[in-house]
Symmetry: C2
Subunit: 426 residues, 2 copies
């Protein structure tokens, strides 16, 4: 019963029934916050033993004998650099370990380039009044906030099933030297959940931007975050850039925020020697070094890359039923109406849904009035403006499955109500 | 036997004897690094129980029920803000908790004001080509490095026994709107060890800078770091600024780097509501929040301000003999020569010595050749340039007392040799 095949009176009858359902939900008085990709309590609990591995009876020395309790080591413990390098497919010497937040490292990188050119002789971005940044959409709101804060004009680039539309990216960067970079979540993209194809990665590596100081902000946030039993494979951007003779293009980020504790993980960045020289010239004035005991805690808990992979299986067991709940509710309640389309990602933290055009804001508002807080409609677009008013990011990780089922019932009902209202008004 | 009263041949004989002593030291093959104010192993050990207080059987909830393992709380746990507020004599709501480094918070504050005016309508400092910063000398090299990195011309202001020479500070800031701030270590100043007098603090609070966006960078790094049994008292700059109607002048910083673990402490800043609004507008784009589990760890270990004070007594017991060693060696080997003057601080991490003018670089070089690495001569001045070539910062905390004795023997010998060589060449 595709809504497009229903008569006006059939739609009106359907609306009446759905509205009654909705009133029932409102009466139940839900209070559920699904606005962010927050790990749930069970996910935090599986990491609790990490609080025990580093204690007063354990040596706080690094392999080379350095006392990790004291000042020093600007770019992180060598063992930690080696471990993180495997997550993001780079060489250990290309890595710098930061504090608890990769977002902070991304912010610092942009902040650095605002006042200090990454390429000698280039104009600091603060002095480029028409500076621009490419923003694949739908994308991650916190990325857009960083470049928004620093006054970039943000140019949306549509996402395809293989990553950002590379025809458009190539064309834009080739002709406009005021375009200084692009935000990417290459694996299990936020929010669409797709992984960039090998061809997309290779085309990124071969970009020929007019701006010599154009940089790819490659946020590999979900590098080990499979949900499906067979996860996606992402090609190493660093390898491809080096092969293409473009080693300075990428700046790669990741963290353990969704591996260990969201607020107390370890962040890392990796980039070429040339770029790192510029960033380290800043970091060396910014800090004596980041928290090495927390790096050690992670090393003691995970031991090695296999340890991380084994730990991620536990996350998968917790997240999989949640993602399945969302998708099965969509299939059950929305598929036949033919008013929405969604992704079914094999990893990451989000399901992206395009509801009936012109209704996303109304859906989010209706859900809120029934006690269900979603990511604001538009948040996945720079400046919060979704021209289609259609995309909504669903973050299934936080609620228990039973609550999530109810939340998705509310959501699907709202999606249908808003679609009918829109169709009837057209 | 003041060197100024000795004849040329007496000086030559003294030089011969000292040179022989020096050769003896070289032969012993010392290897000792006293270049930084690094806590020693015993100091790190007294903090070890902090690694046990937060473990898998302890609740990770804050008083208001927030799960501190998860994302959130941009400005830090309320309990932690309350604790840190007592260290720096401000109100809890004026505090923001950061990562492990107060230097990083200072850097971020300056970085923020480079591109975003702290006062609406003011010019971002990046667009003030002749921007200047006042630097009390001798002072802390890492402060100077921050403003050096951001291209400030740094104006040295002489330190007195009561703090920076306020006649000069008042005169300079009154007349030059390109002077944007001043670096201060108000208690147990780095390196002189003096504490700003009440009058100095009040004169700071009453400053009338030509630049509306002039800010006092008040690094209260040694707020609870007494060595003497009767420590110094510092007036609250925040209170005085509020009384004087200048609430937006100060930005106050501190950390537990020299209270708990140097690399894994908790940093804090405090400032007025107006200033904090600008900084938080940046931080909210920079991070979701700093490491709350480490804040909790500190809260569980110290419990309250009395807990911190009790813990600082243990640091005092370890540091006091080291400072006494330095001072007694100076008195024993340098006093009668009348070629040097030094401070005898009641707290902090350093002893500042002015050796015979024109010999500081030579002394540090000679020490290095005997295996003793000191803070580079000149480091206590912006740009590393001490016009008198006289000031050397001694950091007694790291070496064991026995090694420190030997180090000071080497040092005093070098100070005397270089003084005689200089006198003879004059």
């Amino acid at each position: 019963m595709s809504y497009s095949n229903l008569t006006k009176s059939e739609l009106t009858a359907e609306l009446a029934e759905l509205s009654q359902q909705y009133e029932g939900f409102v009466e139940k008085g839900l209070t559920l916050d699904m606005s962010r990709g927050k790990p749930c309590t069970e996910q935090l609990d599986i990491c609790l033993p990490m609080l025990d591995v580093l204690n007063s009876s354990v040596s706080c020395k690094s392999a080379n004998g350095f006392d990790l309790r004291n000042y020093g080591i600007l770019d992180g413990i060598p063992e930690c650099k080696a471990l993180m390098s495997q997550l993001i497919q780079v060489r250990p010497e290309q890595v710098m370990i930061g504090g608890n937040s990769s977002l902070n490292m991304m912010f610092d990188a942009i902040a650095c380039m605002m006042t200090t050119p990454i390429v000698e002789g280039a104009t600091p971005w603060f002095n480029v009044p028409d500076r621009k940044f490419l923003c694949p959409v739908p994308g991650y709101d916190r990325h857009f906030s960083v470049t928004g804060y620093f006054g970039f004009e943000m140019i949306p680039v549509p996402m395809t099933a293989e990553g950002p539309d590379m025809d458009i990216v190539e064309e834009l960067v080739k002709n406009d030297a005021s375009i200084k970079g692009i935000w990417c979540v290459p694996k299990y993209a936020n929010p669409t959940g797709i992984t960039y194809s090998d061809e997309t990665v290779r085309r990124f590596a071969c970009l020929q931007p007019a701006a010599k100081d154009f940089r790819i902000m490659w946020d590999d946030a979900y590098c080990v975050h499979d949900i499906a039993d067979e996860g996606d494979k992402l090609l190493s951007l660093m390898d491809e850039c080096e092969k293409a003779g473009n080693p300075d293009l990428p700046i790669i980020f990741c963290s353990t925020s969704k591996v260990s504790f969201p607020g107390s993980g370890v962040a890392a960045m990796a980039t070429s020697e040339n770029n790192m020289k510029v960033f380290k010239a800043r970091y060396t004035n910014q800090t004596i070094g980041f928290d090495k005991l927390n790096m050690l805690r992670h090393l003691l808990f995970f031991k090695d890359f296999d340890g991380i992979k084994a730990h991620m299986m536990k996350h998968k067991d917790i997240l999989k039923p949640r993602f399945e709940t969302v998708i099965s509710k969509f299939e059950e309640q929305l598929a036949s109406c033919e008013i929405a389309s969604w992704t079914n990602p094999r990893g990451g933290y989000f399901v992206s849904i395009n509801v009936y055009p012109g209704t996303a804001k109304a859906v989010v508002k209706m859900c809120k009035e029934a006690g269900l807080v979603l990511t604001p409609a538009g948040a996945t677009f720079p400046g919060g403006f979704d021209p289609e008013d259609s995309n909504i990011r669903i973050a299934p990780s936080y609620p228990p499955v039973e609550e999530l089922k109810m939340a998705m019932d509310v959501f699907c009902t709202c999606v249908r109500i808003c679609a009918i209202q829109k169709i009837l008004s057209e």
